[in-house]
């Protein structure tokens, strides 16, 4: 369980200007093995929140507890999938997937065996010796996903992971991610700016508003699980339509305020 209590985060202002508040009084509890999506306009601090949970950047007041332990820095229990994939361009697919295990000090044999297993799970068998630059964007993010899963984390933090991909590739990877998550459940915190994606993937949607970033609403998604087999039909169901309408009304009012 991840508990976020009264989180406030400021960024120093430019020059002499006032500090900018990035997050205000964020309270959020994320259940074990829950798929939580975070949706909000740009500038709502959703990436900052994710980096706080990861332990990459400090916050000012409040606390974050993971399984009752306060977050004080990065932990191998929490792995991240990046929007720009963040693959080492000079390393092969195999070495990229194995890097978490390598940093942890795992010997070559078991580490590569584990990496090969995950490469197969994300459907990239045969590409072990390729460099990232030789792969398409969708394939690169499969590598990013395999790399995060390779260290067997209990929490998967995903920062708009499919935001840089085209429509079809995005849909394929959504299905793939759901399939993997249905087989081996873990807590997923998934940031997106796509309403559709937030609804189709999430158990709950956290809607954030901007300037300063705060939790605006938390919405339960009533769509049945498992979803990976029929994600397309779900996208046409009445439940889906009513949730997206609701989300759009809220987002629209925020956008209007911001423009």
């Amino acid at each position: 369980m991840i508990e976020i209590k009264g989180l406030n985060k400021y960024f120093p202002g430019r020059g002499r200007s006032e500090p900018v508040q990035a997050l205000r009084d964020v309270d959020l509890t994320i259940r074990d093995n829950e798929f939580l999506t975070i949706l909000g306009p740009s500038g709502c601090g959703k990436t900052t929140l994710l980096r706080n949970i990861a332990g990459l950047v400090p916050w000012d007041t409040g606390e974050i507890l993971v399984d009752s332990q306060p977050v004080r820095g990065p932990s191998p229990e929490r792995a991240m999938v990046f929007q720009n994939f963040a693959l080492l361009p000079w390393s092969t697919v195999l070495a990229n997937v194995a890097i978490g295990l390598e940093i942890r000090g795992e010997p070559r044999g078991p580490r590569e065996a584990k990496a090969r297993e995950l490469i197969e799970r994300v459907g990239l068998s045969g590409f072990e010796d390729r460099l990232p630059g030789e792969l398409s964007g969708g394939m690169q993010q499969r590598v990013g996903l395999a790399r995060a899963l390779a260290v067997d984390p209990s929490v998967l933090l995903m920062d708009e992971p499919f935001g840089a991909l085209d429509e079809q590739t995005r849909r394929l990877l959504q299905e793939e991610l759901l399939r993997i998550w249905e087989q081996t459940p873990k807590t997923v915190v998934f940031i997106t700016h796509s309403m559709e994606e937030a609804v189709l993937l999430g158990d709950r949607i956290v809607l954030m508003s901007a300037r300063p970033g705060q939790v605006d609403d938390i919405i339960e998604v009533p769509l049945a699980r498992p979803r990976s087999q029929h994600i397309n039909e779900l996208g046409e169901s009445p439940e889906f339509a009513s949730i997206t309408t609701h989300l759009w009304t809220r987002l629209r009012s925020m956008q209007v305020l911001n423009t």
Binding site: A54, P74, N84, S136
Partner: protein, 266 residues
């Protein structure tokens, strides 16, 4: 077997070969030079053929090889020191703000100072020995190494650093796994530019103050009106620089094959 292809010399194929085009351009250049020097050049401009003959003589002359050796000792030492000192400096300045603040003014001074102008000062304080020439070459080259290395460190993808830190890497791991390999293409680009500057520095110091080596020989040719040899010397310097550049390019290709790779987007 290829009887159906017609004439043995395939014009299209020939025009596709870049060496053929280069040879063609060179021939045109040589012709223009020859015509101009014969018709209007007079005493001071040797013809292309005279220059080519002079180069032939120079390549067989121990005096010329000796001059190249003398100059290149200063070049290799100065350039080597610029690389060995410049790369760590660039790394420090790129990663740590304190180092940047402390060193940047001196880097800027080196960047804006017309170096040829301070050569006389150097000579007066250090004499006309090898040390002065090495320092001049060093000052010409080091700026490019530092500036490019620093830029290379700064343009390393932040998310790569986040990624290895999330997996538990410390500062040392961040350097070894991300910053060093990530900045290598820019570092090598800096070394490449610095090499050109080092060759310039090597010749300039010998022309301006210390008449030894290549610069000394150039001055001598000029004094004795041996203009074909003078032109020949310039060509030989260019040849040396081109060979050195080709070596750096080769290292670049071997060491950073991923840098030239274009990413396929789907």
């Amino acid at each position: 077997m290829s009887s159906a292809e017609g004439p043995a010399l395939n014009i299209d194929r020939l025009l596709d070969s870049r060496w053929f085009l280069r040879a063609l351009a060179f021939a045109a250049f040589a012709l223009v030079w020859q015509v101009y020097a014969t018709a209007a050049g007079g005493f001071f401009v040797p013809t292309f053929t005279e220059t080519a003959a002079a180069i032939g003589r120079q390549l067989a002359s121990p005096e010329v090889w000796q001059a190249f050796a003398t100059s290149n000792i200063a070049m290799v030492l100065g350039f080597g020191l610029a690389v060995v000192i410049g790369i760590p400096l660039g790394f420090l300045m790129g990663r740590f703000r304190l180092a940047e603040r402390a060193i940047n003014p001196y880097l800027n001074i080196l960047l804006v100072t017309p170096l040829a102008g301070i050569i006389p000062l150097l000579m007066m304080s250090l004499g006309i020995g090898l040390a002065s020439r090495v320092i001049v070459v060093w000052s010409f080259a080091i700026v490019m190494v530092v500036v490019n290395t620093r830029a290379g460190v700064r343009q390393v993808d932040r998310s790569l650093i986040d990624m290895v830190r999330l997996f538990g890497a410390g500062e040392l791991g961040v350097w070894r796994r991300v910053i060093l390999p990530g900045s290598l293409p820019a570092v090598l680009a800096g070394v490449r530019v610095a090499l050109g500057r080092a060759v310039t520095g090597m010749v300039i110091v010998e022309l301006v103050m210390v008449s030894v080596g290549i610069g000394g020989l150039i001055l001598r040719y000029q004094a004795f009106f041996r203009f074909a040899e003078l032109y020949g010397m310039v060509v030989l310097i260019i040849l040396e620089a081109l060979i050195l550049l080709a070596i750096v390019d080769w290292v670049q290709r071997k060491a950073t094959p991923w840098a030239s790779m274009t990413s396929i987007r789907d």
